[in-house]
Amino acid sequence: MAKITYIEHDGTEHVVDVKTGLTVMEGAVKNNIPGIDADCGGACACATCHVYVDEAWKDKTGESSAMEESMLDFAENVEANSRLSCQIKVTDELEGLVVRMPESQH
């Protein structure tokens, strides 16, 4: 279990406990948090679960795969700390993780 803070583009914060083994995307979707669409349900096929990971968490959230990099390269509003949240597995290490959402996923 890890406490994760999701911050919508307008600044609205949602703090939820997410089970270990789920992805950061699933944590948002299962808690009905707006701003992460995840159209493909986690197949790394759509880039609609795009988030910004706070700098302090970059190492703990792991490296992105070539497929993820490639999808992100063509998504909107991409920054150096952009990730696809369906590709970040929740571990106890991620207790306190903060992710921010882009203005739009489409």
């Binding site: 979707v29 299962k30 159209d39 759509c46 497929m67």
Partner: protein
């Protein structure tokens, strides 16, 4: 005028219906929401049924769109195992199979589509399966395994995904396809050939141009598929994946406009202003192609759920999206954007032999659709170009040394 206190009844608890219920709450709808589903499960994702779920890599919890307690927590009255049998629009009353009636202010039809059955002798035998629901997938999972012989009738995406999963589980798989090539309705020839080659390399056998005339069995269980040329293909189970037909009878019987699907506008509203239709059952406008059609895809279900929930809660209509879908088979990720309507040219970018390529369908110098195999840049950029209608340079599009970011003419 929106009424945030209205009673919204949603018929169908699939991806579209479940998403509409959740979005209504997200958008501030405070009135009662009743969600009617004819399956025992709360809304879940169907795409993994033919892929990760079939291979045992996903469980019921991970399939669920939301945890079960979500519905009670958000005052969504989810009623499983029942379905609507009658719609009386004048009184705004829906009658359920168990005789109960519901009075709605707003109705959302999200009744989906059902698998087409082959009208041939033997179609009632046990061991003949289809794949629409988790229960179907459960039956299929039990029927495949090492040494089992699985016949797949229909070489479309569902059939091919089942074939790939069947091989992963150790079954012998034969795909029986009526046309001379796979994916004949939905993909171009180079893609058909590519997929057939990949499946053959993984040990799948094919019967192409083969019409199924019936099924034979012993003790009520299927033992073979008979073909028009007289041969019988022996099997322990057969999956029929020959397309789906919309569950639009309730709408048609109540006098709503239908056209192989319930006719809706860009708000997902039907010819009755109090009734919306979303997902596989809807026949919807698609402005970038200047026509109306019905789609069977998750992105379409989600887009229309957004349209309906926005209209019901008085939000501005969401921006139009480019239709897309995906398929996973073996280590291949196929991503498709758009439809090849009115295309007059097909261009290949990359070499199919490399396992990484994209097929672009163009109308003049505009991209109508792209089929991308293990090629996210081609998919992502192609999807954007389909949406913004920017003309592309064909010379650059087929030149792998030119980045997809540079292909605009």
């Amino acid at each position: 005028m929106s009424d945030l206190g209205a009673h919204v009844v949603i018929l169908g608890a699939g991806h579209a219906g479940g998403t509409a219920a959740a979005l209504l709450r997200q958008y501030g709808h405070s009135g009662p929401i009743t969600l009617i589903g004819d399956e025992p499960l709360a809304p879940y994702q169907r795409p993994p049924l033919s892929k990760a779920w079939l291979k045992g890599e996903a469980d019921a919890d991970s399939l669920a769109l939301k945890p079960l307690e979500f519905y009670a927590e958000h005052q969504i009255d989810f009623r499983p195992n029942t379905r609507a049998v009658k719609l009386a629009r004048a009184d705004k009353v829906v009658t359920l199979a168990d005789g109960q009636t519901l009075t709605y202010d707003v109705l959302i039809l999200a009744t989906g589509a059902r698998a087409i059955k082959l009208p041939v002798p033997g179609a009632e035998l046990a061991g003949l399966l289809e794949l629409r629901t988790a229960a179907d997938a459960e039956a299929l999972k039990a029927a495949v395994g090492p040494g089992k012989r699985l016949a797949v009738v229909g070489g479309g995406y569902i059939g091919l995904e089942v074939a790939a999963s069947g091989r992963a589980l150790g079954a012998e798989v034969v795909v029986i396809e009526r046309e001379q090539r796979l994916l004949a309705r939905v993909a171009c020839e180079s893609l058909s050939d590519f997929f057939q080659g990949v499946h053959q390399a993984h040990g799948v056998a094919f019967e192409m141009g083969a019409s199924v005339t019936g099924f034979v069995g012993e003790n009520g269980h299927v033992t073979g598929v008979t073909l028009a040329d007289g041969r019988t293909i022996a099997c322990d189970a057969a999956v029929i994946g020959v397309g789906a037909t919309p569950n639009d009878e309730l709408a048609a019987d109540s006098g709503l406009d239908t056209a192989r699907g319930v006719v809706v506008d860009l708000e997902a509203r039907t010819s009755d202003p109090s009734i919306f239709a979303i997902g596989d059952v809807a026949h919807r406008p698609m402005p970038i192609y200047e026509r109306m059609f019905r789609m069977e895809s998750v992105p379409n279900a989600l887009e229309q759920a957004k349209q309906a929930a926005s209209a019901i809660t008085g939000r501005p209509a969401p921006a139009g999206e480019v239709p897309w879908q995906w398929s996973d088979q073996y280590d291949l990720k196929l991503q498709i954007a758009g439809y090849a309507f009115d295309a007059d040219e097909v261009l290949l970018r990359g070499d199919p032999a490399s396992g990484k390529f994209a097929v672009f369908h163009l109308k003049g110098d505009q991209i109508q659709s792209v089929e991308a195999i293990n090629s996210p840049p081609e998919f992502m950029m192609g999807k954007q170009l389909i949406g913004n209608r920017k003309p592309v340079s064909k010379a650059k599009l087929v030149d792998l040394s030119v980045s997809m970011k540079e292909v605009v003419a």
